[in-house]
C-alpha cells in the first residue's frame, strides 16, 4: 500500500497542519509589526530619557533644546517638550494645544496624575490611556526643569497586542479554525460513511444467503479491509459450492446404493412369487412367506435409510401449506384399512366431522402416519387393536394413534434400529409439530399436535 494513501498518513498530515497553522497564522499576520522597528520600546526610551536628563544637568537652555531635538529626530512620532525652572513650556517642534504655555503647581500635579502610566489600568480598562508619557527632572533637580516625552500607545509595543480591535485578524483566525474543523469532519465523515457502507454490505444477504462483494475504490486501510471481506466472500462461495457438490454426490450415492439394492430384491421377489404359485408343501409356503416378509422389511429399511439421509441433510423437498389434517388422516387410514382387516385388528376410528387445519407438508404428514401405523401393524400384532382418535390436550386438538401391543420395551421380532421413529422425529421437528409417546406393557399411544 502506498504510504501517501494511508489513512494514518492523512490523519497525521491533518494534525500537523493544525499544529503548525495555529501559531503560524498570528505570526505571519503580525510579522510586519515584529520585524520592522516602527514601534517604540517604552523601557528603552525611559532609559534614554533618564540618562539624558541626568546628562543635561546644569546645561544651557540651548543645549537642552538641541539635545531634545536630536531625540525628537530619532523618535519622530513622539511629542517632546520641557518645562524650565520658571514653569514655562519649551516645545520641540510644534506646540501641542493640550500643553499650557506656563505651568502652575496645580497644572503640574494634574498633568502628572493624568499621564501616569498604570499597568493595571492598561490591561483591565476598556478605555485605556492613549498616550504614554515619560517625565524626567533635568539633572534630577526640579529647579532646572522637567523634560517630557509623550508617544501614542499604539506607536509603542505596548499597544500593538489588542486583539479585540483587530477584527480582520479575528475573522481570519475563526475562519481558519472553522476550515480545520470542516476538513476534520469531512475526513471522519468519509471514513464513517465507508465503514457504514461496508457494514451494510456485510449484513445484506445476496444470493444463497451470502453477502455480495463490495467495490473497492481506494486502496487505504478500509480498502484493504474491503479486499479481505471480498476474499472471505469468495472463499465462502467456493466452500458453499463445494459443499453443494459433495451433498449432491452423497445424495446421488445413497440413491444409487438404494437403487442397486432394490434391483436384486426385485428379482428375489419375482422368483418367490413364481415358486409360491406352485408350492410343494405347507412348510414351503411358510418359508416363502417369511422370505417375502423379510423382503418387505428390507425394502422399508432401504427406504428409511434413504429418507433419513435426505432428511438429515435437509434435502427432502418440503411444501408447507394449510392442510385439513383429519382428511389426510382418513385418506391414510383408508389405504391401511385392508391391512388392518387382513391382520384381524379391532379398528377404532373416532374422528370428528369437522375441519382441523394445520400448516404441514401433506406428503410428509402422510409419511409420518404411514411410519407410525406401520409400526403398529409390524410390532403389535398380538394386541390386534388400532385406535385413531382426536383428543383435547392443553387446549388444542391432538391426533392419537393407539395400540394394545407390548409397548416399546417389548422385544419385537421385527424390531429395527428405530430409524423409522427418527424420521418421524425429524419430520415433526421440521414441520414445527409436537409429538409425545406414552408407552407401557398395555400398549402405546402416540400423540400428534400443533406446537403451542
Amino acid at each position: 500500500m502506498n504510504i501517501i494513501q494511508s489513512l494514518m498518513t492523512r490523519y497525521l498530515f491533518l494534525i500537523l497542519f493544525a499544529l503548525v497553522l495555529f501559531p503560524l497564522i498570528p505570526a505571519i499576520y503580525y510579522s510586519h509589526l515584529l520585524f520592522n522597528q516602527v514601534l517604540y520600546d517604552p523601557d528603552e526610551i525611559e532609559d534614554i530619557w533618564k540618562r539624558e536628563a541626568a546628562q543635561l544637568d546644569g546645561q544651557e537652555e540651548e543645549v537642552i533644546h538641541h539635545r531634545l531635538q536630536s531625540i525628537k529626530n530619532k523618535y519622530p512620532k513622539a511629542e517632546i517638550f520641557w518645562i524650565n525652572g520658571s514653569g514655562e513650556s519649551r516645545f520641540i517642534g510644534n506646540r501641542s494645544a493640550d500643553i499650557p504655555e506656563n505651568w502652575t503647581f496645580i497644572d503640574s500635579l494634574v498633568f502628572m496624575e493624568e499621564s501616569k502610566f498604570h499597568v493595571d489600568t492598561f490591561l483591565q480598562n476598556k478605555d485605556p490611556q492613549k498616550i504614554y508619557t515619560i517625565t524626567a527632572l533635568i539633572g534630577n533637580d526640579p529647579r532646572q526643569g522637567v523634560m517630557v516625552f509623550q508617544v501614542p500607545i499604539t506607536d509603542t509595543n505596548l499597544g500593538s497586542i489588542t486583539l479585540n480591535e483587530d477584527l480582520p485578524f479575528v475573522i481570519f483566525f475563526i475562519s481558519t479554525c472553522g476550515a480545520f474543523l470542516l476538513i476534520s469532519w469531512f475526513f471522519f465523515f468519509n471514513i464513517r460513511k465507508r465503514l457504514v457502507k461496508l457494514q451494510f454490505a456485510m449484513s445484506e444477504m445476496g444470493n444463497e444467503g451470502i453477502p455480495d462483494e463490495v467495490v473497492i475504490r481506494k486502496m487505504d486501510e478500509i480498502g484493504r479491509l474491503e479486499g479481505a471481506f471480498n476474499e472471505m466472500i469468495n472463499q465462502l462461495k467456493c466452500s458453499r459450492e463445494r459443499e453443494k457438490k459433495e451433498e449432491n454426490l452423497r445424495k446421488q450415492l445413497i440413491a444409487n446404493i438404494s437403487h442397486d439394492l432394490r434391483t436384486p430384491l426385485t428379482v428375489i421377489r419375482q422368483h418367490v412369487y413364481s415358486v409360491k404359485k406352485y408350492p410343494k408343501s405347507s412348510t414351503e409356503i411358510e418359508s416363502l412367506q417369511i422370505v417375502e416378509n423379510k423382503l418387505d422389511d428390507m425394502d422399508k429399511m432401504i427406504n428409511n435409510l434413504l429418507s433419513y439421509t435426505l432428511l438429515s441433510a435437509g434435502k427432502h423437498p418440503i411444501d408447507m401449506r394449510d392442510t385439513d389434517i383429519l382428511d389426510e388422516v382418513r385418506k391414510v387410514i383408508a389405504e391401511w384399512y385392508p391391512i388392518f382387516e387382513e391382520c384381524k385388528f379391532e379398528i377404532d376410528i373416532d374422528l370428528p366431522e369437522k375441519s382441523l387445519i394445520w400448516k404441514v407438508d401433506p406428503i410428509w404428514f402422510k409419511s409420518i402416519l404411514d411410519n407410525l401405523i406401520q409400526n403398529v401393524t409390524r410390532h403389535t400384532r398380538s394386541g390386534r387393536y388400532i385406535g385413531i382418535q382426536t383428543v383435547e390436550r392443553f387446549g388444542s386438538t391432538f391426533i392419537v394413534i393407539k395400540d394394545k401391543g407390548g409397548g416399546f420395551g417389548q422385544e419385537s421380532e421385527n424390531k429395527g434400529a428405530g430409524i423409522g421413529l427418527s424420521i418421524v422425529s425429524l419430520m415433526m421437528k421440521e414441520m414445527n409439530l409436537d409429538w409425545e409417546i406414552s408407552t407401557s406393557s398395555d400398549g402405546t399411544s402416540i400423540y400428534l399436535g400443533m406446537k403451542t
Binding site: 426385485t266 419375482q270 412369487y273 427432502h316 423437498p317 385439513d324 382418513r330 383408508a334 384399512y337
Partner: protein
Amino acid sequence: MKLTILHIEDDQEIGSWVSKFLTDCGYEVIWITSGHEAMKHMERADLVILDIMLPGLDGYTIGQRLKQKYPNTPIMMLSARTSMEDKLQGLTFADDYMTKPYHPDELAARIQVLVRRLGIVSPEIIQVMHLRIDQKSNRILNTISKTDIVLTGKQFHIFMYLLDHLNQILTKKQIYEAVWGDPYIEGDKTLMVHIRLLREKIELDTSKPQIIETIRGIGYRLRS
C-alpha cells in the same frame, strides 16, 4: 382383443420375468432394453411400463417424449428410485409410479386400474353381489328380482364412482367432490342421505348393507 404393453427395462432378469408374468396375465408384451426404439413401438402400445435407470436416455426423458407424442397412452413408472423427488418428477408425466421390489399382484392390479380409468378397454359387464352392471348401457340389474334398478343422477354417479374404485375405501370428501364437483364441508349430511336412498334401491337388507359398506369415521367402500 389383447392389450399390448410396451415394457422398457434394461435388467435382463427383471425384464424377462415381468414380460412372462404380464403375458401370463393375458397381455401382449413388447420388451425392449433401451428407450431408443421406444417410439417405433408406440403405435402398437396401449400402455407403457418404464424404468428410470436405463442406458442412454433416462426414463424421465423417454417418458416425457412418449407422453408428448402419445398423450393418451398411459405410462407407468416401475423403478427402484424411491425418493419423493423421483416420484414427483416421474408423476409430472406418468400416470402411475410403482417402486421396486414390487408385488406382482399389485402390478397387475394397477395395470388394470390404469386401463379401466383411462377407458382403454370397452366397458364391460361387472357382477357385484346380486347386481349386474352393464357399463355400456349404464344399466344395473337385480339378478334376484330380475328387474332393472333405476337410480337418480346423483345416486348413479355415486354408485359408478364407487364401482370405479371397487374394494377401495373412499372418504366422504373424495366421493362428494368427485360427484358434486364442489368442495366438501365437514359435517354435510347430503352424501349420507344419498347413500341411504341408494342402499334402499340396491341392498337386500338396508339394516345390514352388503354392497356399500360404511367404514366408520372414514367413508364408504363398494365390495365385490
